[in-house]
Amino acid sequence: YDRDQVLNIVPETIQQVQHLQLLCSTFMLDLWKPLLPEDIKAGEDLHIRVPAPLVQEMKDSLAQHMISYRVLIPDVQKLVDQSMPRERSSHR
């Protein structure tokens, strides 16, 4: 999960919802909230984990479609390490 990011997106229109659903299935992204692309709704939070190699492409695509986003977790692996007991994460 090195440099994977979790983005928070709130789509505002049906078109944005549809584009996000397309991105989810094209990139096989890991939806955290909601869990299924069909549950993405306008005006509701979307949390999505984007693998590091796709982050820039994803952000470009969001910008292209005027979809604003916020980075919730800038590096998932760093958080994963923090959730491990100290001796285990130093062992890693």
Binding site: Y1, L35, Q82, S83, P85
Partner: protein
């Protein structure tokens, strides 16, 4: 508590040892029982916290760790047991609970998945049973219960995180929980299942927006718990049916428990609203468990008085 560190996450091996130790150190109150076996043939144990008495007592059931990656959930079940055992002699409320109620706690429901999340993939969610000749693994055990199984908010694709299995109760973990709860259903007043994130207290149902017959009671109790949380910790929990405030899903243990006649059935989505999501850092265990303990205690208090 025998030196166990409750403010760190623990691998399954240590949780097994913790259960044994808890039983040994608190033999007057705690017994450890076998619930069943996982797909990978690991033993599922639950702890029964029960004060000896001639009185018939009702049961509060709590399970944790149905979703592997939600590590805070097993941490809370352990915290809950610790709190009860540490305080039952001195805290009048807990002492009163134990005069009327028994607690049955399953610290990790999805043991195979939990181990997989420690050893292979921190964000693994499902169980570990293979499908389609081993090309994909795992069922979402919280979509596998026999409650409108397969109807909404699930996937029949075994690669999906919400794959509901090949049929209702197709998974040994689900069957173990369901058979046990069915056998005790007339004594279980409250079913609690603990999940990881969202700050929600969810009521039945997820598979329909039609409210259950005791919806008013379900909502009132949960709202009181949420208000207590807000008052003491400032944490804003939302309360409502899963279908109305989260998303629709079928086959959940909470819905199933209510449909078989357990009147109070809740899912807790704990502390975080997305800052850390499924990867809550260990330094958040204590504050999360403290506030959750208050909310759970409020619900138990209602059950006890009722």
């Amino acid at each position: 508590s025998g030196g166990y560190v409750y403010t760190e996450y623990h691998p399954m091996e240590e949780i097994y040892q913790w259960m044994t130790q808890i039983q040994k150190n608190n033999s007057e109150l705690v017994t450890q029982h076998i619930l069943g076996k996982t797909f990978e043939n690991r033993t599922m144990y639950y702890l029964q916290i029960s004060q000896p008495s001639n009185k018939t007592k009702k049961i509060i059931w709590m399970d944790c760790g149905i979703h592997a990656r939600e590590w805070i959930s097993p941490a809370f079940c352990q915290w809950f047991v610790k709190e009860i055992l540490q305080n039952y002699k001195t805290d009048p409320k807990i002492s009163r609970f134990l005069q009327n109620l028994d607690f049955y706690v399953l610290p990790v429901l999805n043991i195979d998945g939990y181990i997989y999340s420690w050893e292979e993939d921190r964000l693994w969610r499902k169980s570990r049973s293979p499908y389609e000749n081993g090309t994909c693994y795992g069922t979402d055990l919280n979509r596998n219960f026999n409650s409108s199984w397969g109807s909404v908010g699930v996937s029949f694709n075994c690669s999906s995180d919400v794959f509901c299995g090949s049929g209702p109760e197709s998974e040994p973990e689900t069957r173990a929980v369901a058979q046990f709860i069915k056998s005790k259903k007339s004594d279980i007043l409250c079913y609690l299942t603990i999940h990881s994130y969202g700050q929600l207290i969810l009521t039945p149902y997820g598979s329909t927006t039609k409210p259950p017959s005791n919806n008013e009671e379900l909502m009132q109790v949960a709202k009181e718990a949420a208000a207590a949380l807000k008052g003491k910790y400032g944490t804003s929990y939302r309360v409502g049916s899963t279908a109305s405030i989260l998303y629709s899903n079928s086959g959940s243990s909470r819905d199933w428990a209510h449909t078989i006649g357990i009147p109070l059935s809740y899912t807790f989505e704990l502390r975080d609203t997305g800052t850390h999501g499924f990867v809550l850092p260990a330094d958040q265990i204590q504050p999360t468990c403290e506030e959750t303990m208050l909310a759970v205690t409020m619900i138990i208090d209602y059950v006890d008085k009722k």
